[in-house]
Symmetry: C2
Subunit: 125 residues, 2 copies
Amino acid sequence: MRLLSYHGGHCAIANLEHYRQCIQTILTKHGSFKSKLGDVETELIFDTIHDHYQLMYVGWNGLSRVYYSVMHFDIKDGKIWIQQNMTDVDLAQELLEMGVAKEDIVLGLQPPSSVHGIWGGVGAS
Amino acid sequence: MRLLSYHGGHCAIANLEHYRQCIQTILTKHGSFKSKLGDVETELIFDTIHDHYQLMYVGWNGLSRVYYSVMHFDIKDGKIWIQQNMTDVDLAQELLEMGVAKEDIVLGLQPPSSVHGIWGGVGAS
């Protein structure tokens, strides 16, 4: 993983690339734990153009369909949105430990009214 | 969309690129119909490295979370897997009409025992 240095708000592009790398590193790490269910694949989905990133389980456990998103991040307007987390991993904490600014983390999986308050990611100055 | 000509099994790479374009064209077309629910975004997720492609609705309708995959394709071993379809659109038919070979379409959202029989996509010679 490439770590980039920060200089206040003067390196938005470097930040963005760093954020992309952080997300992919986190998903790759958690994607290395394979599902113990039947014929199920772990899918890492990285769209660096639209900035959508996912870890999914897809397949079959006998006659039961297994199809769900385990983790999902988006990057919008320079902020990382946590859109899905089906684990007990504290994804926001992992991002913070990798150098992501607190005000750039948005808990998209909480109702819009809470998003503004908890992390200050939306509309924060 | 770029259409490539076929010459039997001699243009696997061209086929693959054509299949990628077909999938992205289909998802983009269906993604143009916006959800009428509250604050919901249509996400087009194209990972041309891992060959995973999705159309998702993500957001909030009041205090209700909206988070689901509408359509999902994978490409594995030169075949297109339809992994999810929450609509009444016949995705296999759309692929056929775009020139995808019938034996290269796999209905991943049907149990493995059926997949082999219906389209012959898995293990078909």
